[in-house]
């Protein structure tokens, strides 16, 4: 069926090939670049960004080559409100947000999709690596290294129904080769990895600018001893090992990790890796992509982007999900998403639900458990 498709074009290779494929599939495609900053210079410059003048130009040139109309949509205000402000607020409360996921949830498949639908489009196509099965479920991409189903798990079934991911069945290197074949100049443009609205990649400096740099203690979780100081608890993430600046090694000589962040008293607790071990995870109210389930069921859960998967028993109640991991996880940060998958090696694991992690717990078992389980 011929659809009117709005292709979100970041200026990167993936969204360019996705747009070209949508055209080839017979759809009536219009390219749109989302301007996410009022002042494009303030977001990352250089080849790797997604919000710079270069990116806007690259997207436009790709649209020219593909032969589709192209426009720039100003989403700067919404993006700032829903993604950047949320990013600050989450760090300020000791959590670790995933801004790409938030952008998908609030901008690409909400503000942009809504506007597109109102303007007469049937669907939004993006260069995300994920598959949509004939059953309408969101599934992992063929390329495990590129799979982005984790950051798309937050889509509602209605949003998913109007989304297109033309790259899900193709490994990244073939997408690049295809871009080259199609004469798209972005074929060799490096992937973006950093957070697009942090110009120099210095997340810590970005947070300091807004949230300040108040000195606080780094405390040993076992002894309560003050081991060092930091200039802002918001600069840490649970599970972080590097950049603690502790001069004294631990008694056992093993590395220390951030165990918890308490913004109220600007306190960062550190301790051994084993203390990061958790096996029970609670989320806020989830988004169900498949039909809602209540009773406990067996599934796999993923706890951060490109993180490993954990077999788990998942149960839902009115307030959220509880996942009991069959083997423990380490360094699980509140604010990240817990995405529940139904494993399927053939068609790709299907996303059942996604919820923001609120809290974690551990069952007291011998410290050797984790190592023994080979995690």
């Amino acid at each position: 069926m011929k659809l009117r498709v709005l292709a979100a074009m970041s200026g990167g290779v993936d969204s360019a090939v996705a747009a070209a494929r949508a055209v080839e599939a017979g759809h009536d495609v219009t390219g749109v670049h989302l301007a996410l900053s009022k002042n494009p210079q303030t977001y990352r410059t250089g080849a790797r960004g997604c919000c710079t003048i270069e990116d806007s130009r690259d997207a436009r040139r790709a649209a020219d080559v593909i032969g589709i109309p192209f426009y720039v949509w100003d989403m700067a205000e919404r993006f700032h409100q829903d993604v950047v402000e949320d990013f600050y607020a989450e760090y300020a409360s000791g959590r670790t947000p995933n801004p790409c996921l938030r952008c998908n949830e609030k901008i690409k498949f909400a503000a942009v999709l809504d506007r597109a639908m109102a303007l007469g489009f049937d669907a939004v196509a993006t260069g995300h690596y994920a598959r949509k099965g004939p059953d309408g479920l969101l599934r992992r991409a063929v390329d495990p290294g590129k799979d982005q189903s984790y950051v798309l798990g937050v889509l509602t079934p209605a949003q998913l129904a109007h989304s297109m991911f033309p790259l899900g069945d193709t490994p990244k290197d073939l997408v690049r080769a295809e871009a080259e074949e199609r004469g798209l100049a972005v074929a060799r443009k490096p992937d973006s990895h950093d957070i697009c609205f942090i110009a120099d990649g210095d997340t810590s400096g970005f947070l300091k600018n807004r949230l300040g740099s108040e000195e606080g203690d780094i405390v040993d979780s076992g002894t309560g001893e003050v081991l060092g100081s930091h200039d802002g608890a918001h600069q840490f993430t649970v599970g972080q090992r590097h950049g603690l600046g502790l001069r004294r090694p631990a008694a056992d000589g093993k590395p220390r990790y951030v165990l918890s962040i308490t913004p109220v008293d600007n306190r960062v607790e550190v301790g051994p890796r084993d203390a990061l071990r958790v096996d029970r995870i609670r989320t806020a109210a989830p988004v169900w992509l498949d039909e809602e389930r209540t009773g406990p069921f067996e599934a796999e859960v993923q706890l951060r982007a490109h993180g490993q998967v954990h077999p788990a028993t998942v149960a839902a109640d009115a307030d959220g999900l509880t996942a009991r991991l069959h083997r423990p996880a380490y360094g699980v940060a509140a604010g990240q998403a817990l995405v529940v998958y139904d494993p399927d090696a053939e068609a790709g694991d299907a996303v059942l639900a996604s919820g923001t992690i609120d809290s974690t717990e551990r069952t007291e078992v011998p410290a050797s458990f984790g190592e023994a389980a080979g995690v």
């Binding site: 301007a35 003048i53 100003d74 503000a111 506007r115 109102a118 303007l119 007469g120």
Partner: protein, 385 residues
Amino acid sequence: MAYLDHAATTPMLPAALDAYVRTARELGNASSLHASGRAARRTVEEARERIAAALGAGPSEVVFTGSGTEADNLALKGTHWARRSEGRNRVVTTAIEHHAVADPVAWLGDHERADVSELGVDKLGRVEVDGLAELLESHASEVTVITCMWANNEVGTLQPIREIVDLAAPHGIPVHTDAVQAVGHAPVDFSASGATSLALSGHKLGGPAGVGVLLLTRDAECTPLLHGGGQEREIRSGTLDVPGIAALAEAVVHAVATSRAEAERLAALRDDLVKRVRAAVPEAIYNGDPDDRLPGNAHFSFPGCEGDALLMLLDATGVECATGSACSAGIAQPSHVLLAMGTGEDNARSSLRFTLGWSSGQADVDALVDALPEAVERARTAGLT
């Protein structure tokens, strides 16, 4: 395709295109002393004379530039630099200038510490001359240059250049006018206007892009922007674009010669467009002076719609128009002209400009009126999301 964006650029007139192609085949730098050079020089000088005659100027008052923007920059910066002194460092502009004027003036303020005074406009987009009278009472001795466009590029309102010149003249203050939108569309007589300088652009009147003119009186003080061969009165350097200049002259002569009849034709077509747009979208607001405006200009706000959504939807049906507002990296800003006219930010974002030109006909208006209601309906739904 219905092209309703002649204020952005208008197709080259066949005579201008012929002149361009013919001249582009010929060899010669107009500054060279040999036969080829003399031939090129002759082409340039004939063009200069024809342009001067068409616009009520003397040939020596015609300074060729690379664009209307360059002509505006040269007039404003050049005049300011030449005339500024202890106690005289003020530029007077208006709230509705094109960026080719607004930005050099802002630059003079930011980088050269010029004082900038901005004249406001009334609801129809006409500069309020009373404000200038008041300003000159107390600050006349401080002013290096006053600038006011001949006709507004967004809403089309014609500006009171004569009144501004009359106020400035007793104080000996030069007046610059950006007439890029006016030449060939409204009667423009440089000498009769009393302005010291006037900018025009080739591609707005059926000539090529990449060539413009600054009309500049012989006794005007003006410091060059570009230094080099001094080709144009030592005020503007750069090898002259002979084919561009020949084509521009062809276009100016033709546009001016036909402007009275063409203005009548376009105004009638425009009035039809306005009437039918209002009938199709009753809540549309017609911006600018309903009568005293450029004949080919119609400018509307469509409450509840975003201008760029409308533009995209019309574009998809083959109807091409403009939001008429400035763009930075493709991001539409609310129109500074509409804001200056007292329009709220929402309606300033909801505007579309339809401009007609020599190649426009009834079919263009029909196509717009056919496509508009559905586009407005959709854009309004999108505007609410």
